[in-house]
């Protein structure tokens, strides 16, 4: 490779934020910086993060305005810092400016993206067609994009995990966490992690827990729902209506407003669970691999990224589908099937008398999701993009030294 990348990385949140996007950037960017030179990585934190302007871990940080997803400043940042590749992480349905910039060859756009819908909406195809490369979060995503005959689809690259941190911890070693979650060895301890309550189908999953509890007097569940009490839904009201308010512990609302718990705390929380419920359409679904990193089983949806990620757990089918205002059709999970899956795991737990744990799932995460492994896949993609950029002469190159020398030597003829 002769052309060195200068990357504008638009990953939504600042790497210091404890959000999903923030955590991805925190682990991914230093590896990218070490490989290509930290001076060659410009971190764009588009929304509400003007205080973050400056640098982070030796990489320049630039910010956006309150407008949209920060697309309005993409081109200016790209040109100001002399970038030759835009690596953008996240959803594609809101994009409005970037596709036109890419069409006009103003940016070389590579998108690392979730595909969390059924089929492929035309609306989205039109938005992502101008990208130089689409790298989906999952094999499901890759298959969907390829089925739509998009010519710019690369191999999927899963999201990474800090596999040094996410490991099994015996719950005996975590008595304080067990107590704070009101979990015990005699209860069936359910964990739901949901920043987006509607997309995560929290209500349907709560209905499933309520159903199982109503129909099995011996079923003594405890629930820790890691979400805002009043987010997209009033969760307290939901649980009260379903008669499961008494089994639940909410996170400290103050802590949630400050970005929630640290990753270390979340590792402990996952290790205390008997099952992680994550039954929704996922483009990736961090909960899938976080649970399995601790050896904990997952109940997941049989559509989307769940089936390829869940080695230890139960898949449940959808009961229908609905189309969002952005033309994305998403499956609706079947509460009865979720309740059955929970029952199956609960009965196994009853039989063994121990928390259900699986070493194969732990190994699967360790082998496939380390950030070193994910980053090395990215280096291949970026190197290839640079090669293509040069091969297809995607920006007007400077003349060679020889040609410039000839241009600057003035001769006169009379």
């Amino acid at each position: 490779m002769t052309l060195k990348p200068k990357i504008l990385y638009s990953g939504k949140d600042h790497p210091s934020l404890p959000s999903g996007y923030g955590i991805i950037s925190r682990y991914f960017l230093p590896l990218l910086g070490d490989y290509y030179g930290r001076e060659n990585i410009i971190i764009y934190t588009p929304v509400f993060q003007r205080d973050a302007i400056g640098s982070w871990e030796g990489m320049t940080v630039v910010s956006g305005t309150e407008w949209g997803f920060g697309e309005n400043l993409l081109q200016e940042h790209y040109e100001t810092y002399g970038c030759n590749l835009l690596l953008q992480l996240g959803d594609t349905w809101p994009l409005g400016i970037l596709p036109d910039l890419a069409l006009a060859d103003k940016v070389l756009w590579v998108q690392w993206m979730p595909v969390d819908w059924l089929g492929m909406p035309k609306n989205i195809i039109n938005r992502i067609k101008p990208a130089h490369k689409l790298i989906p979060f999952s094999q499901y995503g890759e298959n969907s994009l390829r089925k739509a005959d998009l010519p710019n689809v690369g191999k999927k690259i899963w999201l990474g995990l800090n596999t040094h941190l996410w490991r099994p911890i015996p719950r005996e070693n975590l008595p304080g966490v067990m107590e704070s979650l009101a979990f015990s060895n005699d209860t069936f301890n359910i964990l739901i992690v949901a920043a987006n309550q509607e997309r995560k189908r929290v209500r349907l999953q709560l209905e499933a827990i309520a159903l199982l509890r109503r129909t099995n007097p011996d079923f003594h569940p405890r629930l820790y729902l890691h979400s805002q009490i009043n987010g997209e839904r009033d969760l307290r009201a939901d649980m009260d209506e379903l008669g499961i308010l008494d089994i639940n512990v909410f996170p400290d609302p103050y802590l949630i407003t400050q970005g929630g718990f640290t990753e270390e705390q979340m590792v402990s929380v996952f290790n205390c669970a008997d099952v992680v419920l994550n039954v929704c359409m996922e483009g990736f679904g961090y909960a899938h691999i976080q649970a399995q990193a601790c050896g904990v089983p997952v109940v997941a949806l049989s559509e989307g990224a769940g089936p390829e990620l869940v080695q230890f757990g139960i898949e449940v089918p959808p009961i229908g589908a609905e189309t969002s205002p952005h033309q994305m059709t998403q499956p609706i999970p079947n509460q009865v099937a979720i309740a059955k899956a929970l029952e199956e795991l609960w009965r196994k737990r009853q039989q063994t008398g121990y928390p259900l744990r699986n070493q194969r799932a732990v190994d699967f995460v360790q082998e496939n999701f380390s950030w070193d492994k994910i980053a090395s896949q990215w280096f291949e993609v970026i190197d290839q993009c640079m090669e293509e950029r040069e091969r297809y002469c995607m920006s007007i190159p400077r003349p060679s030294e020889e040609v410039e020398k000839r241009a600057s030597e003035v001769i006169e003829l009379s």
Binding site: T2, P399, A407, I411, S414
Partner: protein, 292 residues
């Protein structure tokens, strides 16, 4: 002979240098009794049954079409005006190391290697092509200077009241940066710039004025008002007919080694330039007739 002349553009409409050149050669071919059909994208791109094909500017015609015709045994003569199809920028050719891995080579080299004859516009033009495609070295070639007519461009022996003229010099590939630097370095010289300006809001030095496009028929008079032509292309130009026009019109040339016209050893006097440019259409057809 029955020939097809493939061109992207309608050479009989008013146009740039390539159209002027092609129009002259095409007309000369007709005068010599050849039955020549002009094939443009708007004519449907159908090539009739012919004794040979002359490929001029032809970016609208896919490589596979030309390859197919070569494979049918139809002789193909390439009349090359710029750096199509070896460089996508055509008029700007960086000649850098990255050119060596350009995707266009895989597509076009096999087609170009089937050429019966290649006609370039100057020694520099051929040399620059061969730098990237040395595989074409052994293919018969001819160098055809642009057929600039000394009947149209000549010294009117008027008083030259203006200083220096630059034609299309505000385009980056025509050496905008070099031109502006030269103007800044010579504040005592008044400079007139003719042609388009892709950056109309950009500031120009105070000793310079941009007067826009001037029709080619008026250019002899304009050249004759100026002492010299300033022409500093950024990358190797195929010929640059403006250099020949201005020289015939009595202008001194302030140029550089990227000018194709100046790579001819006969580009030293008005007389020899007039003679070679005048003979260009005749020689153009003689080599084609011999090749076919």
């Amino acid at each position: 002979m029955r020939l097809a002349f493939i061109q992207d553009l309608d050479i009989f409409s008013i146009g740039g240098g390539a159209q002027l050149t092609d129009r002259t050669h095409f007309t000369e071919g007709l005068k010599r009794g050849h039955d020549i059909e002009l094939v443009t994208p708007s004519s449907g791109g159908v090539v009739p049954k012919v004794d040979g094909i002359i490929v001029s500017n032809a970016s609208a015609f896919p490589a596979s079409n030309l390859m197919g015709m070569s494979e049918l045994g139809i002789p193909i003569i390439w009349f090359i005006h710029d750096y199509f199809p070896i460089c996508k920028y055509r008029l700007f050719y960086p000649m850098g190391n990255s050119c060596k891995s350009c995707y266009l080579k895989e597509r076009w080299l096999p087609v170009l290697k089937m050429a019966r004859l290649i006609i370039w516009l100057s020694p520099l033009h051929r040399e620059s092509w061969l730098w990237l495609y040395p595989e074409l070295e052994d293919i018969p070639y001819h160098l055809a200077p642009s057929p600039v007519s000394a009947d149209l461009f000549y010294d009117l022996h008027l008083e030259r009241k203006e200083g220096v003229i630059s034609v299309e010099g505000l385009h980056p590939f025509k050496g905008r940066d070099y031109i502006l630097r030269w103007i800044e370095d010579h504040p005592e010289v008044k400079v007139t710039i003719i042609g388009g300006n892709p950056d109309p809001l950009g500031s120009l030095p105070p000793n310079c004025r941009s007067i826009g496009v001037v029709p080619n028929v008026d250019m002899n008079e304009v050249y004759n008002q100026h002492e010299a032509l300033l022409h500093l292309p950024q990358s190797p130009s195929p010929f640059d007919r403006t250099v020949a026009e201005a020289f015939l019109a009595g202008c001194k040339i302030i140029g550089n080694k990227n000018i194709g016209a100046l790579s001819y050893d006969w580009f030293i006097s008005c007389e020899s330039v007039a003679e070679h440019c005048k003979n260009s259409p005749k020689e153009f057809w003689e080599v084609i007739e011999n090749a076919l």
